[in-house]
Symmetry: C2
Subunit: 209 residues, 2 copies
């Protein structure tokens, strides 16, 4: 069985102050909105404070820096992509179909979250370049999801069992990576329609027993 | 038989003046050196003229713009990568080994030409972003080389023949693309050691009859 919903607590961030404080959530929500519109790199915490109507000192009660806010926004975003992909995968019955859905929903959710709805590209790009903890966590979790699908397919007889599981997981992940990583995805827009189908077919042929 | 050496004339550029004029070659050589050291974007034709000891007017006899010089440098660079890859491929006996060498030499030559020896990354990145003609030509030629290997393997019985050749060529090209395109390659340094082996193994398994 592929693992179900992920927990947001799996994504470590460096927020401070009392856990579960709703003001923190309000700051993150307002900051997401603000960064989406005015950009992350160019906005200082003081601009943000003014725009969302909290004092700078109050924001610093909950976040030690702008990056700490960015990290939480990024963690939310990656968590949302992972949730969407898990749901798509869990809605399929067979390992091959799960793999197809991993490719398709992974590309779609990344495109939408990073580039369309939320315009979080700038934060996601900083996170990917500097390898923030949430990015490392996200990549590990996507690889785990992939490994579970491969493992399930080996047990069901849908996939070959000759190759080492870890190596095959990495190989398939490398095929998918250009469409999950925002830095690469920005240069792959011409292929986002065709790639998920073509690449999952190629991978499935490579996995045939 | 996989096609042999490529001709430089296949790479269209917008140089002007008498064909085969050796001054043009001298300008290109000096400009390559200069751009490698001082950067392409920031250098004006007048800086270049001063640095390489020709008058600006004289340079304009041979090139209509800085981009025209950049285009020729880029075409030379891509032509060199293609030549190296063709040589590596032609040195192998069987289609599977040719495919492995395509992956390995493609990644190595791209890394070396774009990032190490010549530091031509900046020109290559402009070319890839703006899709200069030499880039389009290069991508088509690499896809043709790949198609020829696949075709040869189908005839020899090493590769399956069920899938449409064009579709399979595109799929395999998409697997390789992140390591040939300089814009994507810059974010894939962590994988350039492992990727050629892992990915060509995966592709070869997908091609088994």
């Amino acid at each position: 069985m592929v693992r179900g919903m992920t927990q947001m607590k799996d994504y470590p961030t460096s927020a401070r102050g009392p856990a579960g404080h709703e003001v923190r959530d309000q700051i993150v929500l307002a900051a997401t909105e603000h960064f989406s519109r005015y950009g992350y790199e160019k906005t200082a915490v003081s601009d943000l404070a003014k725009a969302i109507g909290y004092s700078k000192a109050y924001i610093y009660k909950f976040f030690e820096s702008k990056q700490a806010i960015g990290e939480m926004i990024c963690a939310n975003c990656l968590h949302e992509i992972e949730k969407e992909v898990s749901q798509a995968v869990n809605g399929a019955d067979t390992p091959p179909e799960k793999l197809r859905r991993l490719f398709k929903s992974g590309v779609e959710a990344s495109l939408r979250l990073f580039f369309q709805d939320r315009k979080l590209y700038e934060i996601a790009a900083s996170a990917a370049t500097e390898r923030w903890q949430s990015v490392v966590t996200y990549e590990n979790r996507m690889q785990s999801l992939l490994r579970e699908i491969l493992q399930e397919g080996r047990l069901s007889g849908d996939f070959e069992r000759k190759t080492p599981l870890d190596e095959t997981t990495l190989s398939v992940y490398l095929v998918l990576r250009p469409y999950l990583n925002p830095l690469l995805l920005q240069y792959s827009f011409d292929y986002t329609e065709a790639a998920p189908g073509h690449l999952s077919s190629l991978v499935l042929r490579s996995l045939s027993p």
